[in-house]
Symmetry: C2
Subunit: 102 residues, 2 copies
Protein backbone atom coordinates (compact mmCIF):
# COMPACT_ATOMS: atom_id res chain seq x y z
CA UNK A 1 0.00 0.00 0.00
CA UNK A 2 0.90 3.67 -0.21
CA UNK A 3 2.79 2.94 -3.39
CA UNK A 4 1.33 6.22 -4.62
CA UNK A 5 0.50 6.64 -8.26
CA UNK A 6 3.09 6.79 -11.02
CA UNK A 7 2.92 10.41 -12.17
CA UNK A 8 4.87 9.92 -15.37
CA UNK A 9 2.61 7.10 -16.47
CA UNK A 10 -0.50 9.18 -15.93
CA UNK A 11 0.94 12.10 -17.82
CA UNK A 12 1.56 9.81 -20.76
CA UNK A 13 -2.06 8.69 -20.74
CA UNK A 14 -3.44 12.18 -20.09
CA UNK A 15 -3.35 13.16 -23.75
CA UNK A 16 -6.61 12.65 -25.66
CA UNK A 17 -5.03 11.19 -28.77
CA UNK A 18 -2.75 8.88 -26.81
CA UNK A 19 -5.67 7.63 -24.77
CA UNK A 20 -7.55 7.05 -28.00
CA UNK A 21 -4.65 5.01 -29.32
CA UNK A 22 -4.49 2.97 -26.13
CA UNK A 23 -8.24 2.33 -26.27
CA UNK A 24 -7.98 1.14 -29.86
CA UNK A 25 -5.02 -1.10 -29.05
CA UNK A 26 -6.99 -2.62 -26.18
CA UNK A 27 -9.25 -4.20 -28.81
CA UNK A 28 -6.66 -5.42 -31.31
CA UNK A 29 -3.05 -5.10 -32.28
CA UNK A 30 -2.61 -2.51 -35.03
CA UNK A 31 0.07 -0.87 -37.12
CA UNK A 32 0.47 2.85 -37.72
CA UNK A 33 -1.50 2.77 -40.97
CA UNK A 34 -4.55 1.42 -39.18
CA UNK A 35 -4.23 4.06 -36.50
CA UNK A 36 -4.08 6.76 -39.14
CA UNK A 37 -7.35 5.44 -40.58
CA UNK A 38 -9.03 5.14 -37.19
CA UNK A 39 -7.98 8.46 -35.68
CA UNK A 40 -7.62 10.68 -38.72
CA UNK A 41 -4.40 12.08 -37.31
CA UNK A 42 -1.30 12.65 -39.41
CA UNK A 43 1.31 9.93 -39.59
CA UNK A 44 3.97 12.17 -38.07
CA UNK A 45 1.76 13.07 -35.17
CA UNK A 46 0.90 9.45 -34.46
CA UNK A 47 4.51 8.39 -34.72
CA UNK A 48 5.45 10.97 -32.10
CA UNK A 49 2.74 9.79 -29.72
CA UNK A 50 3.62 6.14 -30.30
CA UNK A 51 7.19 6.99 -29.42
CA UNK A 52 6.04 8.41 -26.09
CA UNK A 53 3.89 5.36 -25.39
CA UNK A 54 6.73 3.03 -26.31
CA UNK A 55 9.30 4.80 -24.13
CA UNK A 56 6.84 4.72 -21.23
CA UNK A 57 6.46 0.98 -21.68
CA UNK A 58 2.74 1.23 -22.35
CA UNK A 59 2.98 -0.42 -25.77
CA UNK A 60 5.45 -2.77 -27.39
CA UNK A 61 6.34 -2.99 -31.06
CA UNK A 62 6.70 -5.95 -33.37
CA UNK A 63 8.09 -5.31 -36.85
CA UNK A 64 6.36 -7.25 -39.62
CA UNK A 65 7.90 -6.60 -42.97
CA UNK A 66 7.79 -2.88 -43.53
CA UNK A 67 4.95 -2.51 -41.07
CA UNK A 68 5.26 -2.02 -37.35
CA UNK A 69 2.63 -3.53 -35.12
CA UNK A 70 1.79 -1.95 -31.79
CA UNK A 71 0.45 -4.01 -28.93
CA UNK A 72 -0.85 -2.71 -25.61
CA UNK A 73 0.72 -4.12 -22.46
CA UNK A 74 -2.19 -5.01 -20.19
CA UNK A 75 -0.03 -5.38 -17.08
CA UNK A 76 1.03 -1.74 -17.19
CA UNK A 77 -2.57 -0.56 -17.38
CA UNK A 78 -3.57 -3.05 -14.71
CA UNK A 79 -0.82 -1.77 -12.41
CA UNK A 80 -2.13 1.76 -12.80
CA UNK A 81 -5.66 0.56 -12.09
CA UNK A 82 -4.39 -1.08 -8.93
CA UNK A 83 -2.66 2.08 -7.77
CA UNK A 84 -5.85 4.08 -8.17
CA UNK A 85 -7.83 1.35 -6.45
CA UNK A 86 -5.41 1.46 -3.51
CA UNK A 87 -5.75 5.21 -3.37
CA UNK A 88 -9.54 4.98 -3.35
CA UNK A 89 -9.53 2.35 -0.62
CA UNK A 90 -7.10 4.37 1.43
CA UNK A 91 -9.44 7.34 1.15
CA UNK A 92 -12.40 5.25 2.23
CA UNK A 93 -10.58 3.95 5.28
CA UNK A 94 -9.51 7.46 6.26
CA UNK A 95 -13.00 8.84 5.81
CA UNK A 96 -13.20 10.29 9.34
CA UNK A 97 -9.61 11.48 9.73
CA UNK A 98 -9.31 15.22 9.97
CA UNK A 99 -6.32 17.20 11.12
CA UNK A 100 -7.18 19.99 13.57
CA UNK A 101 -6.86 23.59 12.44
CA UNK A 102 -3.72 25.19 13.87
Amino acid sequence: MMTSVDTDLIRVLADPLRLRIVTLLARETLCTTHLVEETGARQTNLSNHLRVLREAGVVETEPCGRYTYYRLRPDVVARLAGQFADLAESARNAAGNRRACP
Copy 2:
Protein backbone atom coordinates in the same frame (compact mmCIF):
# COMPACT_ATOMS: atom_id res chain seq x y z
CA MET B 1 -17.97 -2.09 -20.93
CA MET B 2 -16.07 0.03 -23.44
CA THR B 3 -16.88 3.01 -21.26
CA SER B 4 -13.39 4.22 -22.17
CA VAL B 5 -11.46 6.32 -19.75
CA ASP B 6 -12.46 9.85 -18.75
CA THR B 7 -9.78 11.99 -20.38
CA ASP B 8 -10.58 15.15 -18.47
CA LEU B 9 -10.32 13.37 -15.14
CA ILE B 10 -6.91 11.94 -15.99
CA ARG B 11 -5.62 15.30 -17.14
CA VAL B 12 -6.63 16.75 -13.79
CA LEU B 13 -4.65 14.08 -11.97
CA ALA B 14 -1.70 14.20 -14.34
CA ASP B 15 -0.12 17.17 -12.58
CA PRO B 16 2.54 16.22 -9.98
CA LEU B 17 1.39 18.71 -7.36
CA ARG B 18 -2.28 17.85 -7.80
CA LEU B 19 -1.50 14.16 -7.49
CA ARG B 20 0.49 14.96 -4.36
CA ILE B 21 -2.51 16.80 -2.94
CA VAL B 22 -4.81 13.90 -3.75
CA THR B 23 -2.42 11.44 -2.13
CA LEU B 24 -2.29 13.55 1.02
CA LEU B 25 -6.07 13.90 1.11
CA ALA B 26 -6.40 10.13 0.78
CA ARG B 27 -4.93 9.89 4.28
CA GLU B 28 -6.84 12.65 6.03
CA THR B 29 -9.02 15.66 5.40
CA LEU B 30 -6.96 18.84 5.40
CA CYS B 31 -7.29 22.59 4.89
CA THR B 32 -5.12 24.76 2.69
CA THR B 33 -2.79 25.71 5.52
CA HIS B 34 -1.91 22.07 6.12
CA LEU B 35 -1.31 21.53 2.43
CA VAL B 36 1.03 24.51 2.35
CA GLU B 37 3.02 22.94 5.18
CA GLU B 38 3.09 19.51 3.58
CA THR B 39 3.91 20.46 0.03
CA GLY B 40 5.91 23.66 0.47
CA ALA B 41 3.98 25.24 -2.38
CA ARG B 42 2.65 28.80 -2.23
CA GLN B 43 -0.87 29.40 -1.04
CA THR B 44 -1.92 30.92 -4.36
CA ASN B 45 -0.59 27.98 -6.29
CA LEU B 46 -2.36 25.48 -4.07
CA SER B 47 -5.59 27.41 -4.24
CA ASN B 48 -5.47 27.30 -8.03
CA HIS B 49 -4.90 23.55 -8.05
CA LEU B 50 -7.60 22.97 -5.47
CA ARG B 51 -9.96 24.90 -7.69
CA VAL B 52 -9.21 22.54 -10.57
CA LEU B 53 -9.70 19.50 -8.35
CA ARG B 54 -12.94 20.92 -7.01
CA GLU B 55 -14.37 21.73 -10.44
CA ALA B 56 -13.48 18.23 -11.61
CA GLY B 57 -15.36 16.78 -8.66
CA VAL B 58 -12.29 15.06 -7.27
CA VAL B 59 -12.48 16.84 -3.93
CA GLU B 60 -15.27 18.49 -1.98
CA THR B 61 -14.98 21.42 0.37
CA GLU B 62 -16.38 21.98 3.82
CA PRO B 63 -16.00 25.45 5.32
CA CYS B 64 -15.12 25.47 9.01
CA GLY B 65 -14.92 28.97 10.36
CA ARG B 66 -12.36 30.81 8.30
CA TYR B 67 -10.77 27.53 7.26
CA THR B 68 -11.75 25.41 4.29
CA TYR B 69 -11.40 21.68 4.57
CA TYR B 70 -10.78 19.57 1.51
CA ARG B 71 -11.91 15.96 1.36
CA LEU B 72 -11.13 13.45 -1.35
CA ARG B 73 -14.08 11.71 -2.99
CA PRO B 74 -13.16 8.03 -3.05
CA ASP B 75 -15.87 7.10 -5.53
CA VAL B 76 -14.37 9.30 -8.23
CA VAL B 77 -10.97 7.69 -7.83
CA ALA B 78 -12.54 4.25 -7.66
CA ARG B 79 -14.45 4.89 -10.88
CA LEU B 80 -11.20 5.80 -12.63
CA ALA B 81 -9.57 2.67 -11.24
CA GLY B 82 -12.46 0.64 -12.64
CA GLN B 83 -12.11 2.21 -16.06
CA PHE B 84 -8.44 1.33 -16.22
CA ALA B 85 -9.16 -2.17 -14.94
CA ASP B 86 -11.75 -2.63 -17.70
CA LEU B 87 -9.23 -1.41 -20.25
CA ALA B 88 -6.60 -3.83 -18.99
CA GLU B 89 -9.03 -6.75 -19.04
CA SER B 90 -10.20 -5.83 -22.52
CA ALA B 91 -6.58 -5.87 -23.66
CA ARG B 92 -6.01 -9.26 -22.09
CA ASN B 93 -9.04 -10.75 -23.81
CA ALA B 94 -7.98 -9.33 -27.16
CA ALA B 95 -4.44 -10.59 -26.77
CA GLY B 96 -4.45 -12.50 -30.03
CA ASN B 97 -6.47 -10.08 -32.18
CA ARG B 98 -4.47 -8.54 -34.97
CA ARG B 99 -5.78 -6.69 -37.96
CA ALA B 100 -4.17 -7.73 -41.25
CA CYS B 101 -1.89 -5.27 -43.02
CA PRO B 102 -3.63 -3.64 -45.96
